[in-house]
Symmetry: C2
Subunit: 438 residues, 2 copies
C-alpha cells in the first residue's frame, strides 16, 4: 500500500494538529501587514487565525494594471490559505468582522459567531478618502480592491465600445479624469492613456483620437509631492508626452454619474472619474476601536505597535498611525505595512514569553512610481532620485520580487515581457456577472 | 519622419477603408459558428459586422475548468476584435439585438439603432434547457457563459469556506448535485470532485471528506448516451472511482435555493445544483424568427443553411436545425457549428456572385469527453472508441488546437502541465463584484 502511494504524484497535505493549548493570535486583514504578521508567527508556538472578507491577498500596487487590461485578476491576487499552505499553525476564516469587543477579548463576525483571542492584530488597511465630496463615493471609481479594478476595466472598455458605435451617427467624446497626482494617479493615467491608444490602433476602433482626453487633476501645485521637485517635473513631462493633460490647483466639488464639477464652475462630461485622491482609515473597524483617532482616521499606537492603553491589541499597516520619531507618523506605504507586520509578530512572541517589547523603527527603503514603458522614478533612502530606464527596471524587479507566489511572478513576468516586445492581445474582456450579464 | 517611425516598435494598425459600396453581411453571435462564418468572409468583397452582447468569444468546452478553478476566465475567452485584428472588412458591434425585421432587412439593437444588412447570419447559439422545472432557471447553475462559470466557482469556493467555518461548532454537510450525464455533466462532476479533494487536502480545510457528496443524476439509464454502452460503463467506473455517486432514472421536480427535490419524493439539501441537462434555442432571437420551429426550438433551415422561405437570412450552429440526411438533424456540437459557419460564408459569397448554393454536408469528426487525469473517451467517426490515456491525450491536443489565440493556447498548456505534475496553487479566488463586495 505504501509502495502504491509513493508511485502516485505526491501532494503536500496540510493537517491541523490540535493546537488548542497554544495562545490564539487573531489577525484581521490579509493585506501586506497582516500577511507579514502571520508569516512572523508561522511555525511558532502560537495558533494563528487570519480573518478576511476576501479569500485572497491582493497585490495593491499592480491593481491599476488590472484596471487597464494589462494583467488578469488572478495575477495580482493569491489565496491566503495557499500562502500558508505549509504552516500548520496558521488558519484562515473567510468572514467579515462586525466588531471587536475588547473587554471580553472576542472578535464578533457578521454572522454573530464570536472568536476569542489572546492577542489581536488589526491590519484592516485603509479605504479611498472621498473628503465628503458629493457623489464621489457613489460615482468616482477608486482602485482599492480587485472588484474596483474589474469595475473600472469594464467601464473603460464599454466606453470605448460606445464611442466606436457612435461613430456612424454622432461621434461622442471620451473624457477620463483621474483625480489625484500621487503614484496611483500618475501610474493609472499613464497606463490608461497607453490602453486607449493601443486599443484604438490595434482593434481598429472608429474613434478619432482627438476626441479622447485623459486628464489628471490635483489640488496641489505638482505631481508626486513626496518626491523632489525635479522628479515631479520629469513625471509631468513624461505624462504630457503621452498626451495626458495635467491641471494643478483644481478641486472637485461634485461627481455625477457621467460628469464632474470643479470649484471654478466647469462641468465636464466624463466616461469615468478615477479616484486616486488619497486614503483614510476612518469608518473602518480600526477606527471604531478608538474614540480619539490619529491622522487620516488611523489608530494611535504605542512605539511597540500596541494600541494606546491596550495589553494585547495591536495595529499595523495602513490602519495604524505608526510613530516616526517624536512628532511624525510613517507614511501609508507597502514597506511600512510589511515591516510593521513583521515587527508586531516579534513583539507578540516577546510578550508571550515574558520579554519586554521593542519599539518599531521604520527602515526607509525609498519610494517609486512608474509612468510608462522606460519611464519611472525612484527616490532612494539617501534622497537620490533615479529616473528613466534604470528607475523603470528597479520598479519592475521590486514589484516582481514582492508579488506573492512563484506562479504569479512567472505569469506577470511573461505578460510584461510579451507586452514589451509587442503589445499583447491581452485580457480586454468585459466580463459582467451572471446577474447582470443575462 | 518615416525613419523615426520605423525605429519605433511596429504595431499592426487596423484601418477601416471605406467599404460602404460592398454588400453588408451581419452576423449575430460570436461563438464557434459566428466566428467561423466571419473567418470565411474575411478579406472577401463584403463588409462584415459581428454583433454580440459580449466583446469576446468564449471557448465553451473549457468553461467547466473555469468553474472548477483550473483556468482563468481570460484563458478561455478572446476579444472578438482581436480575432479579426488583421481583417479590415470585419467590424464588431458590442450590443444586444432586440429584433430582426426581415421585411426591411434590418437588425434592431436594444438601444433602438437599426443596422441594415444584405445578408444576415444568425449564430445565436442555444441556452440551458430547464424544461419548465420549478426553480431550475432561478437556482440551478448552468455552464453556458463566462459569467455562469464565475458564479459557480464563487459558489463552490464559498461553500467550502462555510463548511470549514462550521467545523468548530456543528460541521455541515456539502452536497453537490450535477443534473445531466452528458459530456458537460461528466466533465464537471469529475473536475468538481478533483477540486474539492485537492482544496481540502492542500489548503487544510477542516472538512471531513465523508461529509462531502458529489452526485451525478440523470433520467437516462446510462452516461454519455451518444457513446456505445461500453464507453458509458467505463465513464461510470472512472467517476465512481473518484467517489462520485451516480444515480440513473432520477428526475428532478424542483430546485430550491439550497435544495433539490426528486420525483421519488426525496428532498436533499445542496450547496449547489449544476445544470447540465441539455440546451434549447427556444426563447432566443433565432427562435423568434420562425413561427414553426424545429427540434429543441431551433430554426429550420434549407440544406444550404438558408432559413425556410428566405433569400438572405441564414442560420448556423446550435441555433439552427441543420439537416442531416433526409429525416435527421445534426447534433449541437462545436464541429457542426464551425463547419456550418464556414459553409454558410461560402454560400453567401456564391449568392453574391450569382452562383447556385451547395447543400451543407456534415463531416463527422467524432465526439469526446474527459473524466479526469488520464481518463477520457473519444468516439471516432468509424465508431471506434478510444479510451484512457490515448483518449485523454487526444482530448488535450484537440482542445488546445481549437482554443482561439496563440497566447491563450500557451497559457492553458502551461497551466495544464503545471497541474499535471503538481496541483497548482491556482486561481481559487472568490472575486465578487464591486457592487456586492463592499
Amino acid at each position: 500500500m505504501l509502495k502504491l502511494d509513493m508511485a502516485l504524484p505526491t501532494h503536500t497535505t496540510k493537517e491541523y494538529p490540535d493546537l488548542s493549548h497554544l495562545p490564539h493570535v487573531v489577525i484581521i486583514g490579509g493585506g501586506f501587514a497582516g500577511i507579514a504578521a502571520a508569516r512572523g508567527l508561522a511555525g511558532k508556538k502560537v495558533r494563528v487565525t487570519i480573518i478576511d472578507k476576501h479569500n485572497f491577498h491582493t497585490f495593491l500596487p499592480l491593481l491599476y494594471q488590472v484596471a487597464t487590461a494589462m494583467l488578469e485578476p488572478a495575477e495580482v491576487a493569491y489565496p491566503i490559505r495557499t500562502i500558508f499552505g505549509k504552516a500548520n499553525n496558521v488558519g484562515f476564516r473567510h468572514a467579515k468582522v462586525r466588531e471587536v469587543v475588547h473587554a471580553r477579548n472576542v472578535v464578533v463576525l457578521e454572522d454573530g459567531v464570536e472568536i476569542g483571542f489572546d492577542h489581536l492584530i488589526v491590519a484592516t488597511g485603509a479605504t479611498a478618502a472621498f473628503f465628503g465630496i458629493p457623489g464621489a463615493s457613489q460615482f468616482a471609481m477608486p482602485l482599492y480592491s480587485l472588484a474596483d479594478a474589474r469595475k473600472l476595466r469594464n467601464r473603460l472598455l464599454i466606453s470605448l465600445e460606445e464611442a466606436d458605435a457612435s461613430s456612424e451617427t454622432s461621434p461622442m467624446s471620451l473624457n477620463f479624469v483621474i483625480v489625484g497626482g500621487g503614484p496611483t494617479g500618475v501610474e493609472t493615467s499613464g497606463a490608461l492613456s497607453e490602453l486607449i491608444r493601443t486599443v484604438i490602433k490595434r482593434d481598429g476602433l472608429r474613434i478619432d483620437p482627438s476626441r479622447v482626453r485623459v486628464m489628471l487633476v490635483d489640488m496641489a501645485p505638482r505631481l508626486l509631492t513626496p518626491f523632489p521637485e525635479k522628479a515631479s517635473d520629469y513625471a509631468k513631462r513624461e505624462l504630457e508626452r503621452m498626451g495626458i493633460e495635467i491641471e494643478f490647483g483644481r478641486s472637485v466639488v461634485e461627481v455625477e454619474e457621467r460628469a464632474i464639477r470643479f470649484a471654478d464652475g466647469e462641468r465636464l462630461k466624463v466616461a469615468a472619474v478615477v479616484w486616486a485622491a488619497g486614503v483614510t482609515a476612518s469608518g473602518t473597524l480600526a477606527h471604531d476601536l478608538q474614540t480619539t483617532s490619529g491622522p487620516g482616521g488611523r489608530v494611535r499606537v504605542m512605539p511597540d505597535l500596541r494600541l494606546l492603553e491596550s495589553e494585547n491589541v495591536w495595529a499595523v499597516g495602513d490602519a495604524a498611525a505608526v510613530p516616526l520619531g517624536e512628532t511624525e507618523f510613517c507614511p501609508q506605504l507597502a514597506p511600512v505595512a510589511m515591516q510593521s507586520g513583521r515587527h508586531c509578530a516579534e513583539q507578540v512572541l516577546r510578550v508571550l514569553s515574558g520579554e519586554p517589547t521593542k519599539p518599531f523603527a521604520y527602515r526607509n527603503k525609498g519610494i517609486m512610481a512608474t509612468i510608462g514603458r522606460h519611464a519611472a522614478i525612484a527616490k532612494l533612502p539617501g534622497g537620490t532620485v533615479v529616473k528613466g530606464t534604470p528607475g523603470w527596471l528597479a520598479w519592475l524587479g521590486l514589484h516582481l520580487w514582492y508579488l506573492v507566489g512563484f506562479r504569479n511572478r512567472l505569469r506577470v513576468m511573461i505578460n510584461w515581457t510579451w507586452r514589451y516586445f509587442d503589445w499583447p492581445s491581452g485580457p480586454r474582456l468585459i466580463v459582467a456577472d451572471a446577474e447582470t450579464a443575462e
